[in-house]
C-alpha cells in the first residue's frame, strides 16, 4: 500500500530534490519516486540509474543506504584527507599539490584544503544523506522498498541532516560540494554534453521553480 505524501513527508523528500533533478531532469518532485511508474521510458531510466549504482535487489539497496548513512561512500575519504591537511602548513600543501599529476586529484586537494576546517564536523554528510533519500526513491520504482519503510528511514535521515545543518542553503551547499568532490570540478563548461547540468545549475533552477520549498528549515 502506498502512503499519502503529507506536507511533512514532502519536506523530507525535498532533501533529495537537488540530486534527483541532477540525475533525472524530468523528475516529478511531488511523487514518491519522482518517476512516472506508468511510463516505460521513465522506469527504464530508473533501472539504468540503479544499474549504475550496482543495485540489483532490495538487499543491494539497503546495503548501499547503510554505506551512505555511515559515511563510507564519501565522508570517510574526505575526512581522512582533511585530517591530513589540517596538520599541514601551506608550504607542505603546495608541495603535495604540485607533486600530484592527476588534475582530478588536484581539484579534490584544492577543495578539501579549502574546507578542511569548515567541514570538520559535517564532512559531506549532507551530500550523502541526500543520496540516501534519492536512492530510496529510486528503489521504490522497482518495488525494492515500500513507502512505509521509506517513511521510517526518512525520519532518521531528516533527523541526521537537520542536526548537522541549520538551513537549506547550508545543506544544499554541502550537497553541491559533495557532488564536486565526487564528480570533479563543476565550473561552467561549454564543451560538456548538451542537456547535462551541473549541480550548481540544478540548484539555481530548483530555487526558481520551488522557491517556497526551501525557505523554512523545519
Amino acid at each position: 500500500m502506498t502512503h499519502e505524501i503529507t506536507p511533512q513527508i514532502q519536506d523530507q523528500l525535498n532533501l533529495s530534490a537537488l540530486i534527483l533533478k541532477k540525475n533525472y531532469k524530468k523528475a516529478e518532485l511531488t511523487t514518491w519516486s519522482g518517476f512516472d511508474l506508468e511510463n516505460e521510458m521513465d522506469v527504464k531510466q530508473a533501472k539504468r540509474l540503479l544499474n549504475v549504482f550496482g543495485i540489483k535487489s532490495g538487499l543491494h539497496l539497503r546495503n548501499s543506504l547503510q554505506r551512505y548513512e555511515t559515511g563510507q561512500m564519501v565522508s570517510h575519504n574526505f575526512d581522512k584527507l582533511a585530517l591530513e591537511f589540517r596538520m599541514m602548513t601551506t608550504t607542505d600543501f603546495d608541495a603535495k599539490y604540485n607533486a600530484e599529476q592527476n588534475p582530478r586529484t588536484k581539484a579534490i586537494y584544492k577543495m578539501v584544503w579549502k574546507y578542511r576546517f569548515i567541514l570538520k564536523t559535517q564532512k559531506l554528510i549532507g551530500y550523502e544523506m541526500a543520496y540516501y533519500v534519492f536512492q530510496m526513491r529510486l528503489g521504490h520504482v522497482l518495488g525494492l522498498i515500500q513507502t512505509d519503510e521509506i517513511i521510517l528511514r526518512l525520519e532518521e535521515a531528516n533527523h541526521i541532516i537537520k542536526s548537522n545543518f541549520s538551513n537549506w542553503g547550508e545543506f544544499h551547499r554541502n550537497v553541491c560540494l559533495g557532488g564536486e568532490y565526487v564528480l570533479g570540478a563543476t565550473e561552467q563548461d561549454v564543451s560538456k554534453f548538451p542537456g547535462t547540468e551541473t549541480l550548481w545549475e540544478c540548484y539555481q533552477r530548483l530555487h526558481i521553480q520551488h522557491a517556497d520549498w526551501f525557505k523554512e528549515w523545519k
Binding site: 540489483k56 538487499l59 543491494h60 539497503r62 602548513t89 521510517l152
Partner: protein
C-alpha cells in the same frame, strides 16, 4: 444347358462303359448342367437301377466330362467351356489330374486372351469362381491350379498377367485360404497359404532364397493406391518367414530396399512385413535397422515400426538415427524424412525410451555460438518437451548401455559435458541467452541435481565461475514468463546454496541472498540460506560477523521485520554464544562492544519510541531486551568499558526508552555498574585533593609506584578543573625522570600512553605558556614530555602535531617558540 456341352461333349459320352454308380453320378452331372432334355439323359435314366443311389464320380467319368483338349484349340470356346464347369465343381464333381493339368496348360497359353476385352466380365467371374472352387477342393485339381496362380503372379516378366491375376484373386478371395495336395498314395493333405517350408517346397522347389528374391522383386511392382501382390500375400506372412529373415541378415537389408522402393513407387507402407515377428517376439526387420548406416529411407521404415516392439530392439536404431542427423554436417535436418517422420521419433516418445546420447547431440546442435537458428528452434522445442517439461526440476530417466538409466547431474558433468579447464569460457557461451534458453534450463537442472557433488566435481575456481553463471542466469529470469521463472529460480538458488557452503565470503552470500527479490518463490530458501551463513554455529564467530549482525539490525528494523529476517534468530538465540566468544577473546574488546551496544540500543530506543503506533516495531525492542539479557548474563564483567556501563545505566534512566519492563536486565546492568563503579576504589576529586595535600610530607621518600604515578596523572588531567598545579610532585619526577621512564616502560596498564597524552595537552594549554604565572609547571611538563616521548614510536607523530599547532598561528610567539623547541628536542 451351356452350348459347349450340347455341341461337343454330350454327344461323345458313352454310357455303355459306365458302372452303375458312375451312371448315377452322370445323371446328377447332367441334371446339374440342365441337360435333362437330351437323349443321353433319358437313355441313362432308363438303364439305371433306381434302387442303387451310390454316386461315384470316377476318373474315367471325369475325363468324359472335362478332358476335351480339342475344345481348347479355340480359346474362346475353351474359356467358355471352363466357365461352364461352375455348377459341377460347386457340387463336388472335380476334374481329375489329367484334366486339371490340361486346364493349366490351356490357361498358361491363353492367359493374354483371357484378360482381353473379348472376354466379358461375367465370363471372367465365372472362370475365377471355377478356379476358386477347384483350389478349395480336396481333389487333385487343387494344387495344379494353385501352383499356376502363384507362378504366374510371381512372374513379373509379364506384369500385366501377373497384375490381372492378382486383382482377380483379391476380388474373388482366391489364394487366401488353403490348397490341397494329393500324394502319390492318394492321401490328401490340405495346406493353408502360409509362407513356411511346405509352401516353399510346393511352389519354389524348396528354395527359400529363390522365393525371397522373387518376393523382393515383386514388392515394388503394382499400381499406386491400388491393391497389389503385397495385399494378396498379406495373409501368408508367418513366423517362419520372420525366422528365415532373422537368420539371413543380408536379406533383411534387401527387404528394406524393396520396402523403400515399394514406398516410392506404390506409396504404400508395408508395415506388416516390416513388423514381422518371430515366435520369440523378435522383430528382425526393425531390429536390423540398428545394424547399418541410415539413409532417409531408414528413418521412414523406422517410423512405421510397431508401437509394441520391446525397447531393447530399438536401442541401436535410435543411435543410428542420431548418427544420421549428425551426418553430412546436419543437412539431413532439411529432408522431408526428418520433417515428416524423424521428428516424430523425438516427439512421440518419452525420454524414458530414448538414448541419453541425445543430450550431447542437443547441446551440439543448439549451442548458442554454433547452432543454426532454424534448427535450434526446432530442437529446443522438442527437447524442452522431452527433457524439461513436467519433471518438477528432475532430470529424466533415459536409456543408456541397453538399460534404463537415471540421468544424474554428476554423470552429465563428468561424462557428457567434460569441461575440464575452460569452464568459464564454456559457461559464458550460454549466459547471454538467459534462462529462457532450454539449454540453460537443462544446465540448471544438471547443477541442481549434482547437489553437493559439485564441490568434488569442480575446482574452487570453477565453482566460482559456476556461481557467477548461476547468479547471472537468476537475474535474466526477471524478464521471462512466470512459469519458467518459478520453475528454475528455486533450482538455481538451491544449486548456489550447495556451491556456497564455505563460510566467509559474505559478499557472495549476500549476492545469493539478494535473489529473493526476483520472485516470491525463492524468498524462503534465500532467507534460510542467509540465515545458515550468518548464524552458523559450526564456524567460529568473527568480529566482522558480529558487526554484520548489527548492521542488518537496521534493515530488520526499517523494513518492519520484513527484510533480514534472520536477525530475529540472532536476537533470539545468539546472545550467549556471542558472550562466550567475547569472554575468550584475548585482546581488549571494549571499544568494539561499546560501538555494538551503542548501535543495539539506538535501535532499542527507536523501537520503543514507535511502540505506541506500531506493534511490529515495538516488538523489536522486546527481542533486543531478551538478547541483551542473554548476552550480558554470560559476558565477563571486565569486558565492558566503564563508559559503556555508564551509558547503559544512564540509558535506563530515560523516561520513554528504558529497560524497566525487564527487571532482570536492569539487575544485570546494575551488577556491571557495581563492578565498575562501586567495588573499584573510586577517588572523587575531593579525596584526590586530600591526598595531594598529605603527599606534601616527606616527598623525597616517595617511591615511584602505581599509586603515586596515578596521583600525578590525575593532577595533570584535572589541574584545569581543580586549579591546583602541583609543581612539587612533578619536580620529584623531573629529578628521577630516568627511573620514571623505566618504570613506565615496564607498566602494562597503559599508563605510558595516558601520561604522554596528558602532558601533550598541557603543552597546548595557553595558560601554562611562558610568561604566565604557571610557567614553571608548563616548563616542567615540556621537559618531562620531551624526555618521556623522545625515542618512542609516537615521537614522530607528536612532533608533527606540535609543529602543525605551532605554525597554525593560534598561539603567542612565546608558546610557539616553546613548542618548536619541544619539536626540536624530540627530533634531536
Amino acid at each position: 444347358m451351356p452350348a459347349i456341352f450340347k455341341t461337343h461333349i454330350i454327344p461323345k459320352i458313352k454310357t455303355t462303359s459306365l458302372q452303375a454308380t458312375e451312371t448315377t453320378a452322370l445323371l446328377q452331372v447332367l441334371e446339374l448342367i440342365d441337360a435333362t432334355e437330351t437323349d443321353v439323359y433319358s437313355n441313362t435314366k432308363k438303364s439305371l437301377d433306381t434302387t442303387d443311389t451310390t454316386v461315384n464320380f470316377t476318373e474315367q467319368l471325369a475325363q468324359h466330362i472335362y478332358f476335351h483338349p480339342e475344345i481348347y484349340a479355340n480359346e474362346q470356346e475353351g474359356l467358355e467351356f471352363v466357365a461352364s464347369w461352375l455348377p459341377l465343381v460347386e457340387n463336388g464333381f472335380y476334374p481329375d489330374k489329367k484334366s486339371a493339368d490340361k486346364l493349366v496348360t490351356f490357361l498358361y497359353f491363353s492367359l493374354s486372351y483371357f484378360q482381353s476385352e473379348a472376354i466379358s466380365e461375367t465370363l471372367k467371374t465365372q472362370i475365377f469362381n471355377v478356379l476358386k472352387a477347384l483350389m478349395q477342393s480336396k481333389s487333385e485339381a487343387s494344387f495344379p491350379i494353385a501352383r499356376f496362380l502363384v507362378h504366374r503372379i510371381f512372374d513379373i516378366r509379364d506384369v500385366l498377367s501377373s497384375d490381372f491375376l492378382i486383382q482377380h484373386c483379391i476380388i474373388h478371395q482366391i489364394l487366401n485360404e488353403s490348397y490341397t495336395v494329393v500324394n502319390a498314395d492318394k492321401t490328401v493333405n490340405t495346406f493353408p497359404f502360409q509362407i513356411d517350408n511346405d509352401f516353399i517346397q510346393h511352389f519354389f522347389d524348396n528354395n527359400w532364397r529363390k522365393f525371397i528374391t522373387e518376393f523382393h522383386l515383386l514388392l515394388p511392382v503394382g499400381r499406386v493406391y491400388a491393391k497389389g501382390a503385397y495385399d494378396l500375400m498379406l495373409p501368408w506372412f508367418s513366423e517362419d518367414l520372420a525366422d528365415y529373415y532373422d537368420n539371413n541378415v543380408e536379406l533383411i537389408f534387401e527387404a528394406h530396399k524393396a520396402i523403400k522402393e515399394r514406398f516410392i513407387f506404390v506409396e504404400a507402407k508395408s508395415s506388416e512385413l516390416l513388423n514381422l515377428k518371430t515366435s520369440e517376439d523378435f522383430y528382425p526387420l526393425i531390429a536390423s535397422l540398428g545394424d547399418k548406416v541410415w539413409d532417409a529411407g531408414d528413418v521412414l521404415l523406422f517410423h512405421f515400426r510397431d508401437k509394441d516392439i520391446p525397447q531393447i530392439q530399438l536401442e541401436k536404431s535410435h543411435l543410428r538415427f542420431i548418427a544420421w542427423l549428425n551426418a553430412d554436417g546436419g543437412s539431413n535436418f532439411q529432408t522431408e524424412a526428418f520433417k515428416d517422420y524423424g521428428k516424430q521419433i523425438l516427439t512421440e516418445n518419452a525420454a524414458e525410451v530414448l538414448p541419453a546420447q541425445l543430450i550431447p547431440f542437443w547441446f551440439n546442435k543448439c549451442h548458442p555460438k554454433t547452432g543454426i537458428k532454424s534448427q535450434t528452434e526446432t530442437f529446443n522445442t522438442i527437447f524442452t518437451n522431452l527433457l524439461i517439461e513436467g519433471r518438477n526440476g528432475k532430470l529424466p530417466q533415459m536409456r543408456f548401455g541397453d538399460a534404463d538409466f537415471e540421468v544424474t547431474g554428476a554423470f552429465l558433468i563428468r561424462e557428457v559435458f567434460q569441461v575440464k579447464d575452460n569452464l568459464d569460457a564454456w559457461l559464458q557461451g550460454f549466459i547471454k541467452e538467459g534462462i529462457s534458453n532450454p539449454l540453460n534450463q537443462f544446465l540448471v537442472r544438471t547443477f541442481y541435481d549434482a547437489g553437493e557433488a559439485l564441490l568434488e566435481l569442480y575446482t574452487p575456481e570453477q565453482q566460482n565461475s559456476l556461481q557467477l553463471y548461476l547468479l547471472e542466469l537468476a537475474y535474466t529470469s526477471r524478464t521471462v514468463e512466470d512459469t519458467v521463472r518459478t520453475q528454475n529460480l528455486p533450482l538455481i538458488v538451491d544449486a548456489l546454496a550447495n556451491l556456497c557452503v564455505e563460510s566467509g565470503n559474505f559478499t557472495r552470500v549476500n549476492e545469493i541472498w539478494a535473489l529473493k527479490d526476483i520472485d516470491t518463490c525463492v524468498i524462503k530458501s534465500c532467507n534460510d540460506f542467509a540465515r545458515a551463513h550468518y548464524i552458523n554455529e559450526d564456524h567460529p564467530l568473527t568480529l566482522h560477523l558480529v558487526q554484520a549482525w548489527f548492521n542488518y539490525l537496521a534493515d530488520y528494523y526499517y523494513s518492519f521485520t520484513e527484510e533480514a529476517i534472520w536477525v530475529e534468530t540472532v536476537l533470539n538465540t545468539q546472545g550467549c554464544r556471542m558472550a562466550t566468544y567475547f569472554n575468550t577473546y584475548e585482546n581488549d574488546i571494549s571499544f568494539f562492544l561499546d560501538r555494538a551496544l551503542n548501535r543495539i540500543i539506538t535501535f532499542h530506543r527507536k523501537s520503543k519510541l514507535k511502540q505506541a503506533e506500531n506493534n511490529v516495531l515495538g516488538r523489536i525492542s522486546e527481542q533486543i531486551e531478551m538478547f541483551l539479557i542473554d548476552f550480558l548474563t554470560e559476558l565477563g564483567e571486565n569486558k565492558l568499558h566503564k563508559n559503556t556501563v555508564g551509558y547503559l545505566k544512564d540509558y535506563n534512566k530515560n523516561d520513554v526508552a528504558n529497560f524497566n519492563q525487564q527487571p532482570k536486565l536492569v539487575t544485570i546492568i546494575d551488577a556491571f555498574y557495581d563492578f565498575h563503579f562501586e567495588s573499584e576504589p573510586q577517588q572523587e576529586i575531593s579525596t584526590v585533593i586530600e591526598q595531594l595535600q598529605t603527599s606534601n610530607i616527606e616527598i623525597e621518600f616517595v617511591e615511584i609506584n602505581q599509586n603515586y604515578v596515578e596521583t600525578i596523572l590525575q593532577n595533570l588531567e584535572q589541574y584545569k578543573d581543580v586549579g591546583i598545579c602541583d609543581v612539587k610532585l612533578l619536580e620529584v619526577l623531573e629529578e628521577r625522570k630516568d627511573d620514571f621512564k623505566l618504570w613506565l616502560a615496564n607498566d602494562e596498564t597503559g599508563l605510558d600512553a595516558r601520561f604522554s597524552q596528558a602532558l601533550y595537552m598541557t603543552l597546548l594549554d595557553t595558560n601554562l605558556a611562558p610568561g604566565t604565572d604557571k610557567e614553571t609547571y608548563g616548563n616542567l611538563c615540556r621537559s618531562l614530555f620531551t624526555h618521556l616521548v623522545k625515542g618512542s614510536k609516537m615521537a614522530a607523530s607528536y612532533a608533527m602535531g606540535l609543529q602543525a599547532m605551532a605554525k597554525s598561528g593560534a598561539y603567542s610567539e612565546d608558546l610557539t617558540t616553546a613548542l618548536l623547541e619541544v619539536v626540536n628536542g624530540l627530533n634531536a
